[in-house]
C-alpha cells in the first residue's frame, strides 16, 4: 500500500508539470487557434538555462532570468508561427511549430550539450508521512500548478487583456473589426504561456533531469492533459495533467517503465477519437 501512495505522490508531482504545459497549450489555442508543438521546448530551455546560469549566480535569480529569457523566445516563436502580417493559416502555423521544435533540439544540443541536467531542489529533506516520502519540491510543483490554474482563469475571465484573447478565438473577424490586432494577441498568449511553461521546466529539473531532447515528451504529455478538456478548458487540463501523471506512475511502478510515453499517446488518441465527432477539430 505504501508503494501505491508513493507512486500517487510522485504522479501528482509529475502530473503538475503536464498540467502546467497543458494549460499553456490551452491558453495559446484559445487565443490563436494554434496548437504549439514547440511548447515543451520552453520547459527544457528554462531548465537548462537555470542550470547554466546557476553556476554563476544564486539559483533563484538564475530561475527568474531563465523564465524571462524563455518568455522572450516564446514571443519570437509567436511572430514566426503567426507570420508578420498575422495571416498564416492555423494548419500552417501548427506545422511551423513542429519545425521549430525539431530545430530547437539541434540548437539546444549545440548550446548545452547532451548530458541531462539537474540542480538542487527547494529543500533536500523529504517529509516522511506514514512511510510515504514527499519531497518539498513536489508540494511546490502542485501548488504552482493550482495557482496557475486559478490565475489563468481569472486572467481570461476578468481582465480586459484576457477577454481580448478569448474574443480573438471566439471570432477573429469581429476581433479585427473592433480594432484588435490578431498578431499582438498571439504574442501576448505565447509570452504568457511561454513564461508559465518555463516555470514548470525550472521546477521540474530538480526532480527529473532535463536534456535537449526532453521537449517532445513534455509536449506530448501536456497535449494529452489539454485534450481532456478539448484544448478549451483550463480546469480540465489541470485535472487531466494530474490524472495522467498518476496513471503513468502506477504503470511505471507496477507494469513497466517503458510504457511511460505510450500511455500519454493512447490517452490522447482515444480522447481525440472520442471527441472528434463533437467540438474538437485539431
Amino acid at each position: 500500500m505504501t508503494t501505491f501512495f508513493q507512486l500517487v505522490v510522485v504522479g501528482i508531482s509529475t502530473g503538475s508539470v503536464f498540467a502546467i504545459v497543458g494549460m499553456s497549450l490551452v491558453l495559446v489555442y484559445r487565443a490563436t487557434g494554434i496548437v504549439n508543438f514547440a511548447q515543451g521546448v520552453f520547459a527544457v530551455l528554462a531548465g537548462l538555462l537555470t542550470y547554466s546560469l546557476g553556476k554563476h549566480m544564486s539559483l533563484p535569480l538564475a530561475a527568474v532570468l531563465a523564465t524571462l529569457v524563455t518568455a522572450v523566445v516564446a514571443t519570437l516563436v509567436a511572430v514566426v508561427a503567426v507570420g508578420i502580417r498575422g495571416r498564416t493559416t492555423h494548419l500552417a502555423s501548427l506545422i511551423i511549430t513542429v519545425g521549430i521544435a525539431i530545430l530547437a533540439e539541434a540548437v539546444l544540443l549545440a548550446a548545452f550539450g547532451e548530458v541531462p541536467r539537474s540542480y538542487s531542489a527547494v529543500s533536500d529533506r523529504a517529509w516522511d508521512i506514514g512511510g510515504v516520502l514527499v519531497q518539498p519540491q513536489y508540494a511546490v510543483l502542485t501548488v504552482v500548478a493550482l495557482a496557475a490554474a486559478v490565475g489563468l482563469t481569472l486572467f481570461l475571465r476578468h481582465t480586459i487583456v484576457g477577454q481580448a484573447l478569448v474574443a480573438s478565438a471566439d471570432s477573429p473577424r469581429a476581433a479585427e473589426l473592433i480594432g484588435l490586432n490578431l498578431r499582438s494577441v498571439a504574442v501576448i498568449a505565447f509570452a504568457v504561456a511561454g513564461a508559465l511553461t518555463a516555470i514548470g521546466g525550472v521546477l521540474l529539473a530538480p526532480t527529473v533531469p532535463v536534456a535537449y531532447s526532453s521537449g517532445l515528451s513534455i509536449t506530448i504529455n501536456g497535449f494529452a492533459a489539454a485534450v481532456v478538456g478539448g484544448l478549451a478548458s483550463i480546469r480540465l487540463a489541470l485535472l487531466g495533467g494530474y490524472a495522467l501523471g498518476v496513471v503513468e506512475q502506477l504503470v511505471i511502478g507496477y507494469v513497466d517503465p517503458q510504457y511511460n510515453l505510450i500511455i500519454a499517446l493512447v490517452v490522447m488518441l482515444v480522447l481525440i477519437g472520442w471527441r472528434s465527432r463533437g467540438e474538437l477539430a485539431v
Partner: protein, 256 residues
C-alpha cells in the same frame, strides 16, 4: 464635409472581380443604403472600407483623408465601426465584456501595455459610454452577465450594435441588419437606428431587403455585379418600375 467617400473602388479576390469601380459618398449624419442581390459586392465594399480587404484600385477617403488599405484599427479610430453580417458576437464572453471590448479595441495598438493603460485610464469615460449604450438598449443591461452566445438572434444583433457603439463611431456600417430576424424585431432595430441617427451618427446600411433600406435611409445605391446601376433618394428609387420588380416583389413596399 463628406464623411466617407469611395472613389472608383475595385476589389478583387484572385481573378474574380467583386467590386468593379464603385464611387459613393456618405455625409456626416446621413442615412445611406446599399442594396442589391447576393454577390453584387455589397459586403466587399464594406470590407474595403473597414480595412479587412485591400482594394485593388480606387481610393477610400474618410473626412477627405486617404485611408485606402489602412488597418481595421485605424478605420475604427477614424470613427467608422462595422456591425458584421451574422453578428459575430464573442460567444463565450458575457454581454458586458463584448461591449467593453468595443471600447478597448478602439485604443488597442501593437503595444499592448500602453494601450491597456490608456483603456484603464479612461475607465470612467468607458463606464459612462456603457451606461449610455444600456440606456439606448435596455435589454443588454438585463443580459449583461449572460454569455453572448446564449442569447437570441435579435439580442445578438443588439450586442453587435452595442459593441460597435462603444467605439463612439460617427458612421455605423451595418451588414445585413434583417438577416434571420423576425420582422417585428427588425422594425424595433430600425426605429432604434433612427433614434441613433438623430444623435448625429451616420448610417450605412447594407441589406437585401430593399423595403427596409428605403424606409430607413434617405438615399440608396443599387448594386449589381460589382457596379452601381442606380442611385438617388429612396423615394425616387422605390417608385421606379425596374427596382419595384427586382427588389420589392412587384406592387408591395415603398417608403413608409
Amino acid at each position: 464635409m463628406t464623411l466617407l467617400e469611395l472613389d472608383h473602388l475595385v476589389v478583387r479576390y484572385g481573378q474574380a472581380v467583386a467590386v468593379d469601380g464603385i464611387s459613393l459618398t456618405v455625409g456626416a449624419g446621413e442615412r445611406v443604403a446599399l442594396i442589391g442581390p447576393n454577390g453584387a459586392g455589397k459586403t466587399s465594399v464594406l470590407n474595403a472600407v473597414c480595412g479587412v480587404v485591400r482594394p485593388a484600385a480606387g481610393r477610400v477617403r474618410i473626412d477627405g483623408r486617404d485611408l485606402t488599405g489602412a488597418t481595421p484599427a485605424a478605420v475604427v479610430r477614424r470613427g467608422i465601426s462595422q456591425v458584421p453580417e451574422g453578428r459575430h458576437v464573442f460567444a463565450t464572453l458575457p454581454v458586458e465584456a463584448n461591449l467593453l471590448l468595443g471600447a478597448y479595441g478602439r485604443v488597442f495598438s501593437l503595444e499592448i501595455v500602453s494601450s491597456t493603460l490608456r483603456y484603464v485610464r479612461s475607465r470612467r469615460e468607458v463606464r459612462e459610454r456603457l451606461d449610455r449604450v444600456y440606456e439606448l438598449l435596455p435589454k443588454l443591461h438585463e443580459l449583461r452577465d449572460r454569455p453572448a452566445g446564449r442569447t437570441s438572434g435579435g439580442e445578438q444583433q443588439m450586442v453587435a450594435i452595442g459593441r460597435a457603439l462603444m467605439a463612439e463611431p460617427r458612421l455605423l456600417a451595418i451588414d445585413e441588419l434583417s438577416l434571420g430576424l423576425a420582422p417585428v424585431l427588425v422594425q424595433q432595430l430600425a426605429e432604434f437606428l433612427l433614434r441613433l441617427n438623430e444623435q448625429g451618427v451616420a448610417i450605412l446600411l447594407v441589406d437585401q431587403s430593399a423595403s427596409l433600406a428605403f424606409s430607413l435611409c434617405e438615399r440608396a445605391y443599387v448594386l449589381e455585379t460589382g457596379r452601381v446601376v442606380l442611385e438617388g433618394p429612396s423615394g425616387d428609387l422605390a417608385g421606379r418600375s425596374e427596382v419595384r420588380s427586382a427588389y420589392l416583389g412587384g406592387a408591395s413596399g415603398g417608403p413608409s
